[in-house]
Protein backbone atom coordinates (compact mmCIF):
# COMPACT_ATOMS: atom_id res chain seq x y z
CA UNK A 1 0.00 0.00 0.00
CA UNK A 2 1.54 3.29 -1.06
CA UNK A 3 -0.77 5.79 0.48
CA UNK A 4 -3.91 6.24 2.46
CA UNK A 5 -6.12 9.27 2.17
CA UNK A 6 -8.60 10.58 4.66
CA UNK A 7 -11.36 9.87 2.16
CA UNK A 8 -10.34 6.21 2.09
CA UNK A 9 -10.35 6.10 5.84
CA UNK A 10 -13.79 7.63 5.88
CA UNK A 11 -15.09 5.20 3.30
CA UNK A 12 -14.31 1.94 5.02
CA UNK A 13 -12.52 2.72 8.24
CA UNK A 14 -13.43 3.30 11.81
CA UNK A 15 -14.95 6.71 11.17
CA UNK A 16 -17.65 5.41 8.89
CA UNK A 17 -18.11 2.26 10.91
CA UNK A 18 -18.78 4.45 13.91
CA UNK A 19 -21.54 6.29 12.11
CA UNK A 20 -23.09 3.16 10.70
CA UNK A 21 -23.28 1.47 14.05
CA UNK A 22 -24.73 4.30 16.08
CA UNK A 23 -28.30 3.31 15.43
CA UNK A 24 -30.45 0.75 13.72
CA UNK A 25 -32.53 3.28 11.81
CA UNK A 26 -31.54 6.01 9.43
CA UNK A 27 -33.76 8.48 11.26
CA UNK A 28 -31.97 7.75 14.50
CA UNK A 29 -28.66 7.91 12.70
CA UNK A 30 -29.39 11.33 11.31
CA UNK A 31 -30.73 12.52 14.63
CA UNK A 32 -27.64 11.31 16.46
CA UNK A 33 -25.30 12.76 13.87
CA UNK A 34 -27.12 16.06 13.95
CA UNK A 35 -27.02 16.12 17.74
CA UNK A 36 -23.32 15.41 17.73
CA UNK A 37 -22.71 18.04 15.09
CA UNK A 38 -24.71 20.62 16.99
CA UNK A 39 -22.87 19.83 20.19
CA UNK A 40 -19.52 20.10 18.49
CA UNK A 41 -20.40 23.27 16.63
CA UNK A 42 -21.67 24.65 19.90
CA UNK A 43 -18.26 24.06 21.41
CA UNK A 44 -16.57 25.83 18.57
CA UNK A 45 -19.01 28.72 18.41
CA UNK A 46 -18.11 30.14 21.79
CA UNK A 47 -18.01 33.93 22.04
CA UNK A 48 -14.73 35.45 20.97
CA UNK A 49 -12.43 36.11 23.90
CA UNK A 50 -9.32 38.14 24.42
CA UNK A 51 -6.06 36.69 25.73
CA UNK A 52 -3.45 39.35 25.13
CA UNK A 53 -4.37 38.85 21.50
CA UNK A 54 -7.30 39.36 19.21
CA UNK A 55 -10.67 37.76 19.69
CA UNK A 56 -9.97 35.69 16.60
CA UNK A 57 -6.78 34.38 18.16
CA UNK A 58 -8.68 33.28 21.23
CA UNK A 59 -11.30 31.62 19.08
CA UNK A 60 -8.58 29.76 17.22
CA UNK A 61 -6.93 28.63 20.45
CA UNK A 62 -10.25 27.31 21.74
CA UNK A 63 -10.78 25.52 18.44
CA UNK A 64 -7.33 23.97 18.75
CA UNK A 65 -8.07 23.03 22.35
CA UNK A 66 -11.20 21.19 21.24
CA UNK A 67 -9.21 19.17 18.72
CA UNK A 68 -6.60 18.41 21.37
CA UNK A 69 -9.36 17.23 23.75
CA UNK A 70 -10.47 14.80 21.06
CA UNK A 71 -7.00 13.46 20.40
CA UNK A 72 -6.02 13.23 24.06
CA UNK A 73 -9.23 11.34 24.90
CA UNK A 74 -8.71 8.97 21.98
CA UNK A 75 -5.20 7.90 23.00
CA UNK A 76 -6.06 7.74 26.69
CA UNK A 77 -9.02 5.50 25.88
CA UNK A 78 -6.77 3.25 23.79
CA UNK A 79 -4.19 2.99 26.58
CA UNK A 80 -6.86 2.25 29.19
CA UNK A 81 -8.39 -0.44 26.97
CA UNK A 82 -5.04 -2.30 26.78
CA UNK A 83 -5.91 -3.82 23.39
CA UNK A 84 -2.77 -2.57 21.65
CA UNK A 85 0.50 -4.45 21.51
CA UNK A 86 4.10 -3.70 20.55
CA UNK A 87 4.99 -0.44 18.86
CA UNK A 88 1.37 0.84 18.50
CA UNK A 89 0.93 0.44 22.28
CA UNK A 90 4.11 2.41 22.89
CA UNK A 91 3.09 5.05 20.36
CA UNK A 92 -0.33 5.45 21.98
CA UNK A 93 1.24 6.02 25.39
CA UNK A 94 3.74 8.57 24.10
CA UNK A 95 1.42 10.44 21.76
CA UNK A 96 -1.38 10.37 24.32
CA UNK A 97 0.85 11.99 26.90
CA UNK A 98 1.85 14.67 24.39
CA UNK A 99 -1.75 15.41 23.41
CA UNK A 100 -2.63 15.70 27.11
CA UNK A 101 0.25 18.17 27.49
CA UNK A 102 -1.19 20.21 24.61
CA UNK A 103 -4.55 20.28 26.40
CA UNK A 104 -2.92 21.43 29.63
CA UNK A 105 -0.94 24.12 27.82
CA UNK A 106 -3.97 25.58 26.04
CA UNK A 107 -6.09 25.44 29.19
CA UNK A 108 -3.27 27.21 31.01
CA UNK A 109 -3.26 30.00 28.41
CA UNK A 110 -7.05 30.36 28.27
CA UNK A 111 -7.78 29.99 31.97
CA UNK A 112 -11.50 30.26 32.68
CA UNK A 113 -12.13 31.11 29.04
CA UNK A 114 -11.22 27.59 27.92
CA UNK A 115 -14.04 25.58 26.39
CA UNK A 116 -15.23 22.62 28.44
CA UNK A 117 -13.98 19.14 27.79
CA UNK A 118 -16.57 17.20 25.75
CA UNK A 119 -17.39 13.55 26.31
CA UNK A 120 -16.45 11.08 23.63
CA UNK A 121 -17.58 7.72 22.36
CA UNK A 122 -15.08 6.15 20.00
CA UNK A 123 -17.45 3.32 19.07
CA UNK A 124 -14.83 0.61 19.41
CA UNK A 125 -12.12 2.46 17.46
CA UNK A 126 -9.79 2.12 20.46
CA UNK A 127 -10.62 -1.55 20.96
CA UNK A 128 -8.79 -3.23 18.09
CA UNK A 129 -5.31 -2.42 16.87
CA UNK A 130 -6.28 -2.02 13.23
CA UNK A 131 -9.17 0.35 13.95
CA UNK A 132 -6.99 2.27 16.37
CA UNK A 133 -4.28 2.90 13.79
CA UNK A 134 -6.70 3.90 11.03
CA UNK A 135 -8.49 6.32 13.31
CA UNK A 136 -5.23 7.68 14.70
CA UNK A 137 -4.07 8.49 11.17
CA UNK A 138 -7.37 10.20 10.41
CA UNK A 139 -7.31 12.28 13.59
CA UNK A 140 -3.66 13.30 13.20
CA UNK A 141 -4.17 14.24 9.54
CA UNK A 142 -7.22 16.24 10.55
CA UNK A 143 -5.28 18.09 13.22
CA UNK A 144 -2.44 18.91 10.84
CA UNK A 145 -4.88 20.21 8.22
CA UNK A 146 -6.76 22.22 10.84
CA UNK A 147 -3.60 23.87 12.20
CA UNK A 148 -2.46 24.62 8.68
CA UNK A 149 -5.69 26.50 7.99
CA UNK A 150 -5.66 28.51 11.20
CA UNK A 151 -1.99 29.40 11.64
CA UNK A 152 -1.91 32.05 8.88
CA UNK A 153 -4.91 33.69 10.57
CA UNK A 154 -3.23 34.12 13.95
CA UNK A 155 -2.30 37.70 14.76
CA UNK A 156 -0.37 37.64 18.03
CA UNK A 157 3.14 36.28 17.57
CA UNK A 158 3.32 34.32 20.84
CA UNK A 159 0.11 32.56 19.87
CA UNK A 160 1.49 31.98 16.39
CA UNK A 161 4.70 30.54 17.85
CA UNK A 162 2.64 28.22 20.05
CA UNK A 163 0.52 26.98 17.17
CA UNK A 164 3.56 26.39 14.97
CA UNK A 165 5.35 24.46 17.70
CA UNK A 166 2.37 22.16 18.14
CA UNK A 167 1.62 21.85 14.42
CA UNK A 168 4.98 20.27 13.70
CA UNK A 169 4.50 17.80 16.54
CA UNK A 170 1.10 16.81 15.15
CA UNK A 171 2.71 16.27 11.76
CA UNK A 172 5.29 13.97 13.37
CA UNK A 173 2.48 12.04 15.06
CA UNK A 174 0.71 11.68 11.72
CA UNK A 175 3.89 10.36 10.12
CA UNK A 176 4.47 7.92 13.00
CA UNK A 177 0.96 6.49 12.84
CA UNK A 178 1.15 6.23 9.06
CA UNK A 179 4.41 4.31 9.28
CA UNK A 180 2.92 1.94 11.85
CA UNK A 181 -0.01 1.28 9.52
CA UNK A 182 2.30 0.76 6.54
CA UNK A 183 1.43 3.81 4.46
CA UNK A 184 3.70 6.61 3.30
CA UNK A 185 4.28 9.29 5.96
CA UNK A 186 3.70 12.17 3.52
CA UNK A 187 1.48 12.11 0.48
CA UNK A 188 3.12 14.82 -1.57
CA UNK A 189 5.29 17.93 -1.55
CA UNK A 190 2.52 20.13 -0.16
CA UNK A 191 -0.27 19.57 2.34
CA UNK A 192 -3.73 21.09 2.07
CA UNK A 193 -5.35 23.18 4.75
CA UNK A 194 -8.89 22.40 5.83
CA UNK A 195 -11.47 24.86 7.10
CA UNK A 196 -13.02 24.65 10.53
CA UNK A 197 -16.41 23.94 8.98
CA UNK A 198 -15.02 21.00 7.03
CA UNK A 199 -13.14 19.62 10.05
CA UNK A 200 -16.23 19.97 12.22
CA UNK A 201 -18.41 18.17 9.70
CA UNK A 202 -15.96 15.29 9.49
CA UNK A 203 -15.72 14.87 13.25
CA UNK A 204 -19.48 15.21 13.72
CA UNK A 205 -20.04 12.49 11.14
CA UNK A 206 -18.08 10.02 13.26
CA UNK A 207 -20.37 10.38 16.26
CA UNK A 208 -17.27 10.59 18.46
CA UNK A 209 -18.69 13.54 20.40
CA UNK A 210 -21.20 12.03 22.81
CA UNK A 211 -23.82 13.07 25.30
CA UNK A 212 -23.09 12.86 28.99
CA UNK A 213 -24.95 10.01 30.69
CA UNK A 214 -27.38 11.06 33.40
CA UNK A 215 -26.25 9.16 36.46
CA UNK A 216 -27.70 11.21 39.30
CA UNK A 217 -31.40 11.82 39.89
CA UNK A 218 -33.51 13.49 42.50
CA UNK A 219 -36.16 10.78 42.38
CA UNK A 220 -37.26 9.07 45.56
CA UNK A 221 -35.66 5.64 45.99
CA UNK A 222 -37.78 2.55 45.42
CA UNK A 223 -35.09 0.10 46.45
CA UNK A 224 -36.04 -2.75 48.77
CA UNK A 225 -34.93 -0.75 51.81
Amino acid sequence: MDDLTLAELDRDGALYAAVETISGSRADLLRTAAGGAAAFLGLLAVPARAIAATATDTEIVNYALTLEYLQAAFYKDAVMMKKLAGEPARAARIVGAVEAAHVDAYRDVLGPKAVKRPRFNFHGATETQRKFLRTAIALEDLAVAAYKAQIPLVTARPVLATAVSIHSVEARHAAWMRRLFGVVPARGPFDDAESRESITRTIASTGFVARKPRMVAQAGPRFTG
Binding site: T21, I22, S23, G24, D28, I51, A52, A53, Y75, K76, D77, V79, M80, M81, K82, R93, I94, G96, A97, V98, A100, A101, A105, Y106, D108, V109, R119, F120, N121, F122, H123, G124, T126, E127, T128, A156, R157, P158, V159, L160, A161, T162, S165, A210, R211, P213, R214, M215, V216, A217, Q218, A219, G220, P221, R222, F223, T224, G225
Partner: protein, 269 residues
Protein backbone atom coordinates in the same frame (compact mmCIF):
# COMPACT_ATOMS: atom_id res chain seq x y z
CA UNK B 1 7.94 28.03 -15.43
CA UNK B 2 6.26 31.14 -14.10
CA UNK B 3 6.78 34.52 -15.73
CA UNK B 4 8.19 35.94 -12.50
CA UNK B 5 10.76 33.13 -12.31
CA UNK B 6 11.79 33.61 -15.96
CA UNK B 7 12.38 37.32 -15.33
CA UNK B 8 14.40 36.65 -12.22
CA UNK B 9 16.76 34.10 -13.76
CA UNK B 10 19.04 36.41 -15.83
CA UNK B 11 19.67 38.56 -12.75
CA UNK B 12 20.47 35.54 -10.63
CA UNK B 13 22.83 34.22 -13.31
CA UNK B 14 24.66 37.55 -13.38
CA UNK B 15 25.23 37.46 -9.62
CA UNK B 16 26.52 33.89 -9.78
CA UNK B 17 28.82 34.75 -12.69
CA UNK B 18 30.28 37.69 -10.78
CA UNK B 19 31.08 35.50 -7.77
CA UNK B 20 32.60 32.79 -9.98
CA UNK B 21 34.76 35.34 -11.79
CA UNK B 22 35.95 36.80 -8.51
CA UNK B 23 36.85 33.35 -7.23
CA UNK B 24 38.83 32.56 -10.40
CA UNK B 25 40.72 35.82 -10.07
CA UNK B 26 41.72 34.94 -6.53
CA UNK B 27 42.78 31.41 -7.52
CA UNK B 28 44.76 32.57 -10.52
CA UNK B 29 46.61 35.37 -8.81
CA UNK B 30 50.27 34.91 -7.89
CA UNK B 31 51.93 36.12 -4.71
CA UNK B 32 53.30 39.29 -6.30
CA UNK B 33 50.07 40.65 -7.57
CA UNK B 34 47.91 42.56 -5.19
CA UNK B 35 44.92 40.57 -3.93
CA UNK B 36 41.49 41.58 -5.00
CA UNK B 37 39.38 41.76 -1.88
CA UNK B 38 36.09 39.95 -2.23
CA UNK B 39 33.79 40.54 0.67
CA UNK B 40 30.60 38.58 0.90
CA UNK B 41 27.69 40.79 1.79
CA UNK B 42 26.91 40.59 5.49
CA UNK B 43 23.61 38.81 6.13
CA UNK B 44 20.82 41.00 7.39
CA UNK B 45 20.30 40.49 11.09
CA UNK B 46 17.11 38.56 11.80
CA UNK B 47 15.02 39.00 14.91
CA UNK B 48 15.27 36.44 17.71
CA UNK B 49 12.67 33.64 17.66
CA UNK B 50 9.36 34.58 19.21
CA UNK B 51 8.57 32.95 22.54
CA UNK B 52 5.49 30.77 22.64
CA UNK B 53 2.45 31.79 24.65
CA UNK B 54 2.46 28.51 26.52
CA UNK B 55 4.51 27.14 29.34
CA UNK B 56 6.39 24.33 27.64
CA UNK B 57 7.18 21.46 30.02
CA UNK B 58 10.45 19.56 29.81
CA UNK B 59 8.56 16.33 29.12
CA UNK B 60 4.94 15.32 28.83
CA UNK B 61 3.62 13.67 31.98
CA UNK B 62 2.89 9.96 31.44
CA UNK B 63 -0.69 8.77 31.13
CA UNK B 64 -2.30 7.11 34.16
CA UNK B 65 -1.54 3.46 34.85
CA UNK B 66 -4.10 1.30 33.01
CA UNK B 67 -4.08 -1.42 35.70
CA UNK B 68 -6.83 -1.94 38.32
CA UNK B 69 -9.47 -0.50 36.01
CA UNK B 70 -13.09 -1.52 35.51
CA UNK B 71 -15.07 -0.34 32.50
CA UNK B 72 -18.71 0.68 32.32
CA UNK B 73 -20.75 1.91 29.39
CA UNK B 74 -24.16 3.51 28.92
CA UNK B 75 -26.89 1.86 26.88
CA UNK B 76 -27.79 4.04 23.90
CA UNK B 77 -30.96 2.26 22.83
CA UNK B 78 -33.21 -0.67 23.79
CA UNK B 79 -31.01 -3.71 23.43
CA UNK B 80 -31.29 -7.47 23.70
CA UNK B 81 -28.56 -9.12 25.75
CA UNK B 82 -27.74 -12.50 24.23
CA UNK B 83 -26.20 -15.73 25.43
CA UNK B 84 -23.35 -15.46 22.90
CA UNK B 85 -21.89 -12.81 20.57
CA UNK B 86 -24.13 -12.91 17.49
CA UNK B 87 -27.62 -11.91 16.46
CA UNK B 88 -28.78 -15.54 16.31
CA UNK B 89 -27.92 -16.34 19.93
CA UNK B 90 -30.81 -16.69 22.43
CA UNK B 91 -31.97 -13.52 24.18
CA UNK B 92 -31.26 -13.51 27.92
CA UNK B 93 -32.77 -10.10 28.74
CA UNK B 94 -34.05 -6.96 27.09
CA UNK B 95 -32.52 -3.79 28.45
CA UNK B 96 -33.83 -0.23 28.24
CA UNK B 97 -31.65 2.87 28.08
CA UNK B 98 -33.20 4.20 31.32
CA UNK B 99 -33.33 2.79 34.85
CA UNK B 100 -36.58 2.86 36.86
CA UNK B 101 -35.13 5.94 38.58
CA UNK B 102 -34.85 7.80 35.27
CA UNK B 103 -31.06 7.70 35.06
CA UNK B 104 -29.04 6.34 32.15
CA UNK B 105 -28.85 2.56 32.27
CA UNK B 106 -25.27 1.35 32.39
CA UNK B 107 -23.55 -2.03 32.19
CA UNK B 108 -20.22 -3.26 33.50
CA UNK B 109 -18.01 -4.85 30.82
CA UNK B 110 -16.24 -8.10 31.62
CA UNK B 111 -15.13 -9.26 28.15
CA UNK B 112 -15.34 -8.71 24.40
CA UNK B 113 -15.23 -10.67 21.18
CA UNK B 114 -15.61 -10.18 17.43
CA UNK B 115 -18.41 -12.12 15.74
CA UNK B 116 -18.04 -13.87 12.37
CA UNK B 117 -18.96 -10.66 10.57
CA UNK B 118 -16.22 -8.74 12.39
CA UNK B 119 -18.61 -6.86 14.66
CA UNK B 120 -17.50 -6.19 18.20
CA UNK B 121 -19.60 -7.54 21.09
CA UNK B 122 -19.17 -6.92 24.80
CA UNK B 123 -19.91 -9.37 27.59
CA UNK B 124 -21.51 -7.39 30.40
CA UNK B 125 -22.99 -7.94 33.84
CA UNK B 126 -26.77 -7.70 33.60
CA UNK B 127 -29.12 -6.13 36.17
CA UNK B 128 -31.45 -9.11 35.99
CA UNK B 129 -32.40 -12.23 37.92
CA UNK B 130 -30.83 -14.62 38.47
CA UNK B 131 -28.14 -12.44 39.98
CA UNK B 132 -24.73 -12.85 38.41
CA UNK B 133 -26.08 -13.24 34.87
CA UNK B 134 -23.82 -11.96 32.09
CA UNK B 135 -24.82 -11.45 28.47
CA UNK B 136 -23.49 -10.19 25.14
CA UNK B 137 -24.41 -6.78 23.69
CA UNK B 138 -23.26 -5.29 20.38
CA UNK B 139 -20.65 -2.58 20.96
CA UNK B 140 -22.68 -0.26 18.73
CA UNK B 141 -25.52 -0.17 21.29
CA UNK B 142 -23.22 1.27 23.95
CA UNK B 143 -21.74 4.67 24.65
CA UNK B 144 -18.18 5.69 25.40
CA UNK B 145 -15.83 3.85 27.72
CA UNK B 146 -15.76 4.98 31.34
CA UNK B 147 -13.14 3.67 33.73
CA UNK B 148 -13.05 3.45 37.52
CA UNK B 149 -10.26 2.34 39.85
CA UNK B 150 -12.53 1.60 42.78
CA UNK B 151 -14.21 -1.55 44.12
CA UNK B 152 -16.73 -1.79 46.97
CA UNK B 153 -16.78 -4.98 49.02
CA UNK B 154 -19.66 -5.66 51.41
CA UNK B 155 -19.15 -8.51 53.84
CA UNK B 156 -22.65 -9.57 54.86
CA UNK B 157 -21.28 -11.85 57.59
CA UNK B 158 -19.09 -9.24 59.24
CA UNK B 159 -21.46 -6.33 58.43
CA UNK B 160 -18.77 -4.18 56.84
CA UNK B 161 -18.45 -2.18 53.65
CA UNK B 162 -14.94 -1.41 52.38
CA UNK B 163 -14.11 0.76 49.40
CA UNK B 164 -10.82 0.01 47.65
CA UNK B 165 -9.07 2.40 45.28
CA UNK B 166 -6.21 0.93 43.25
CA UNK B 167 -6.41 -2.05 45.60
CA UNK B 168 -5.97 0.00 48.78
CA UNK B 169 -8.79 0.45 51.32
CA UNK B 170 -9.91 4.09 51.48
CA UNK B 171 -13.23 3.76 53.33
CA UNK B 172 -14.72 1.34 55.81
CA UNK B 173 -18.09 1.38 57.60
CA UNK B 174 -20.35 -0.90 59.60
CA UNK B 175 -23.54 -1.80 57.74
CA UNK B 176 -26.90 -3.44 58.04
CA UNK B 177 -27.92 -6.13 55.54
CA UNK B 178 -31.02 -8.13 54.73
CA UNK B 179 -32.94 -10.10 57.30
CA UNK B 180 -32.77 -13.90 56.86
CA UNK B 181 -36.14 -13.97 55.05
CA UNK B 182 -35.02 -11.18 52.66
CA UNK B 183 -31.30 -11.86 52.33
CA UNK B 184 -28.95 -9.49 50.59
CA UNK B 185 -27.87 -11.35 47.43
CA UNK B 186 -24.23 -12.38 47.15
CA UNK B 187 -22.13 -12.01 44.04
CA UNK B 188 -20.51 -9.36 41.84
CA UNK B 189 -22.61 -6.36 40.81
CA UNK B 190 -22.05 -2.64 40.12
CA UNK B 191 -23.22 0.77 41.26
CA UNK B 192 -25.46 2.19 38.57
CA UNK B 193 -26.89 5.45 39.88
CA UNK B 194 -27.10 7.90 42.75
CA UNK B 195 -30.24 9.50 44.13
CA UNK B 196 -30.14 12.74 46.10
CA UNK B 197 -32.42 15.54 47.32
CA UNK B 198 -35.41 13.29 47.98
CA UNK B 199 -37.55 13.53 51.11
CA UNK B 200 -37.40 10.13 52.72
CA UNK B 201 -35.63 9.90 56.09
CA UNK B 202 -35.90 6.13 55.83
CA UNK B 203 -33.26 6.15 53.03
CA UNK B 204 -31.07 8.86 54.57
CA UNK B 205 -29.51 11.69 52.52
CA UNK B 206 -28.08 9.67 49.62
CA UNK B 207 -29.01 6.35 48.01
CA UNK B 208 -26.98 4.37 45.50
CA UNK B 209 -28.76 2.03 43.10
CA UNK B 210 -27.02 -1.25 42.30
CA UNK B 211 -27.50 -3.95 39.69
CA UNK B 212 -28.29 -6.51 42.42
CA UNK B 213 -31.89 -7.64 42.84
CA UNK B 214 -33.73 -9.30 45.67
CA UNK B 215 -34.45 -12.94 44.85
CA UNK B 216 -37.34 -12.95 47.32
CA UNK B 217 -39.01 -9.53 46.91
CA UNK B 218 -39.46 -9.94 43.17
CA UNK B 219 -42.73 -8.01 43.09
CA UNK B 220 -41.26 -4.99 44.87
CA UNK B 221 -41.95 -1.72 42.98
CA UNK B 222 -39.42 -1.02 40.21
CA UNK B 223 -38.14 -4.58 40.28
CA UNK B 224 -36.78 -5.08 43.79
CA UNK B 225 -33.35 -3.57 43.23
CA UNK B 226 -30.90 -3.52 46.11
CA UNK B 227 -29.75 -0.08 47.22
CA UNK B 228 -26.98 1.23 49.43
CA UNK B 229 -28.29 4.10 51.53
CA UNK B 230 -28.41 5.96 54.84
CA UNK B 231 -30.96 5.41 57.55
CA UNK B 232 -33.11 7.10 60.21
CA UNK B 233 -32.48 4.12 62.53
CA UNK B 234 -28.71 4.06 63.05
CA UNK B 235 -29.35 2.36 66.38
CA UNK B 236 -30.16 -0.87 64.47
CA UNK B 237 -26.72 -1.05 62.84
CA UNK B 238 -24.85 -3.27 62.32
CA UNK B 239 -26.94 -6.36 61.79
CA UNK B 240 -29.51 -8.18 59.66
CA UNK B 241 -32.12 -5.47 59.66
CA UNK B 242 -33.18 -4.60 56.09
CA UNK B 243 -35.31 -5.93 53.24
CA UNK B 244 -32.08 -6.68 51.38
CA UNK B 245 -30.62 -3.19 51.01
CA UNK B 246 -27.28 -2.23 52.52
CA UNK B 247 -27.75 0.45 55.13
CA UNK B 248 -25.12 2.61 56.78
CA UNK B 249 -25.05 5.66 59.00
CA UNK B 250 -25.82 8.93 57.27
CA UNK B 251 -22.33 10.32 57.89
CA UNK B 252 -20.87 7.18 56.33
CA UNK B 253 -23.08 7.26 53.22
CA UNK B 254 -22.20 10.93 52.69
CA UNK B 255 -18.51 10.10 52.96
CA UNK B 256 -18.94 7.17 50.56
CA UNK B 257 -20.71 9.47 48.09
CA UNK B 258 -17.61 11.66 48.03
CA UNK B 259 -15.25 8.75 47.34
CA UNK B 260 -17.10 6.27 45.16
CA UNK B 261 -17.63 6.98 41.45
CA UNK B 262 -20.66 5.53 39.71
CA UNK B 263 -19.95 2.35 37.82
CA UNK B 264 -17.85 1.00 40.70
CA UNK B 265 -17.98 -2.82 40.88
CA UNK B 266 -19.70 -4.16 44.01
CA UNK B 267 -18.83 -7.51 45.56
CA UNK B 268 -21.19 -8.85 48.21
CA UNK B 269 -19.70 -11.68 50.25
Amino acid sequence: MSRRLRLALPGAALVVATFVAAALLLDGSDASSSPVPVVAPAPLPLPAPVSAAIRIPERAAPLPDPDNLSRWLALLRPTAARAAPGTQAPVLARLTPQTPEGTTNIVLAVGDRLDRAGRLWLEVRLPVLPNGTTGWIPRSALGGNNFVRTRLVVDSSRFTATLFSDGRPVFRARVGVGQPRWPTPRGVFYIRNKLTSYRSPFYGPVAFGTSARSATLTDWPAGGFIGIHGTNRPDLLPGRVSHGCIRMRNADILRLAELMPLGTPLTIL
